[in-house]
């Protein structure tokens, strides 16, 4: 083979690989990027504003953590062809099944409310009234799923995932000091010592990295996409790519707020965008658009998670490949979740701050259970066969799961009792 033939051969091999990936990409990428939802963006913005670039190293560490947990859902979904809700009912019986399903419903609905809070706050910066935002968002989200094809939904949602990268140009616009980022951000350190405030933000960052809905969502999406056992390596790769982007976005948000708002106490990403609009209008605009997109992605994925979970357990048709008349309850559940969560934001005097805090507490009741079930199922040879956890998987996953349970519990408890950790 001459040189040109070799180059052409390698080029077509790479193109073919990319084509296969684009065909199989989706659940991992979407779940990871949607993980940077409105609450996540707020946490990163607050972290950057409070501690500058100092905690970038910590966010980088959270990438593999998210990957190891989510990768298990790929294997479980591809092997069992069941969503997580159905898997829990089937394996552990109705007590744990109902507990998980009802807890998931409550925590997901409350999280959706926080996504609408983020979306309405973001568009309010541009003078768009919340009622218009909620109405348009619900209609668009309904339109996206009504195509009757999982593939269409997935590719449209992936386009929204691309918008999440808007924080990269925002960070470039603020001209951060690269040497400062490398010096302060990459080497592990605890700025100002390990105090209560730092601990709370570390816990918040871990809390936003793994949420209960993510486990249910990715497993159901893998099933709906009809991924087979042979697709598991691609599903894992998709999850790696997603984990990379979720960390990338988080780091760039920290760079933006760490450069422009360093030393400020930020309560929400919308507040950060509002402050920036005064001094750096373009950056403020990008942050607001990013916040809206984050809330949008979060809401659409979480609403679907509920519909899938109920469909699996109640035996309704529960696939995006069905038309409305074929999967009526699936779509009704999706629509009702969105419209009620959006409606709450429009109620004058609704306790939105309380709801935002309550999400963390309720999530703590479900996350440990979902993770423990995941580990037990992945260790069952009868269910998983050759895809069961290896010794290395177990060491990594059990360590991560125990750490997540401890830290998320402390986070939930410190939300209930704010003065507990000083």
């Amino acid at each position: 083979m001459d040189l040109f033939s070799k180059i052409y051969f390698n080029y077509s091999k790479i193109v073919k690989t990319i084509k296969i990936y684009l065909l199989l990409a989706g659940p991992g990428l979407i779940v990871m990027i949607a993980d940077n939802d409105a609450g996540g963006i707020t946490t990163y913005a607050a972290t950057g504003a409070k501690f500058g670039y100092s905690l970038i190293w910590f966010l980088i560490l959270l990438g593999p953590v998210a990957y190891f947990v989510q990768e298990m859902t790929v294997r479980l979904g591809a092997v069992t062809k069941h969503g997580h809700a159905e898997a829990i009912f089937s394996a552990f019986g109705s007590f744990w099944g109902w507990f998980s399903l009802l807890d998931l419903t409550v925590v997901n609905w409350l999280t959706m409310v926080t996504e609408f809070i983020g979306m309405t706050a973001a568009l309010s910066i541009f003078g768009i009234p919340p009622v218009v935002t909620v109405a348009i968002v619900v209609l668009v989200m309904l339109g996206i799923v009504l195509s009757g094809r999982y593939w269409t939904w997935e590719k449209i949602t992936m386009a929204f995932c691309l918008v999440n990268l808007i924080y990269i140009p925002a960070a470039i616009l603020v001209h951060p000091s690269i040497p400062d980022i490398l010096r302060n951000g990459i080497v592990p350190n605890f700025p100002g010592g390990f105090n209560g405030e730092l601990f709370f933000l570390l816990m918040a960052n871990i809390g936003t990295t793994i949420a209960p809905w993510m486990i249910f969502f990715q497993q159901s999406a893998v099933v709906d996409k009809n991924m087979k056992e042979k697709d598991i390596p691609w599903g894992k790769f998709d999850t790696v790519v997603g984990a990379f982007f979720t960390v990338l976005v988080a780091v760039f948000i920290i760079i933006v707020t760490g450069t422009l708002l360093y030393g400020m106490n930020i309560d929400s990403a919308a507040q950060a965008a509002q402050v920036m609009m005064g001094t750096h209008p373009w950056v403020g605009t990008l942050i607001a658009i990013g916040l809206f997109d984050a809330g949008f992605l979060g809401a659409i994925c979480i609403a679907l998670t509920n519909s899938w979970a109920f469909g699996e357990v109640f035996g309704w048709a529960h696939s995006l490949n069905y038309k409305v008349r074929e999967a009526f309850w699936f779509y009704i559940f999706y629509f009702l979740g969105l419209i009620t969560a959006g409606g709450v934001v429009l109620i004058p005097g609704a306790p939105l701050v309380l709801i935002t805090l309550f999400v963390q507490v309720i999530a703590v009741t479900l996350l440990p259970a979902a993770l423990v079930f995941l580990i037990i199922l992945l260790n069952n040879e009868e269910i998983m066969g050759k895809y069961k956890n290896t010794r290395f998987d177990n060491i990594a996953n059990i360590t991560i799961v125990v750490c997540i349970i401890v830290v998320s519990s402390l986070y939930g408890i410190s939300t209930l009792f704010p003065n507990l950790f000083g």
């Binding site: 009912f89 109705s94 209930l416 009792f417």
Partner: protein
């Protein structure tokens, strides 16, 4: 069934009775766990129960202190 229909009206009554019937059938279908649990798994589930009871107690305590004007 008839009592439900008397209280809630025919349509809503039948939806409620259909739903309770469905829930009953789900409970029957998943009455017994299908996987054989190892000792470690049983222990993990036991810890999970204690953990959840602990969280419920905390939530009730917080609720009680809020109602009585505490933190």
């Amino acid at each position: 069934m008839e009592a439900l229909e008397r209280v809630f009206g025919e349509r809503i009554g039948s939806i409620i009775s259909e739903s309770t019937g469905k829930i009953r059938s789900i409970n029957q279908k998943y009455a017994t766990p299908t996987i054989k649990l190892s000792g470690g798994a049983k222990f993990a589930l036991l810890l999970l129960r204690f953990y959840l009871i602990f969280l419920v107690v905390l939530l009730v305590y917080k609720f009680w202190t809020v109602i009585h004007g505490g933190a």
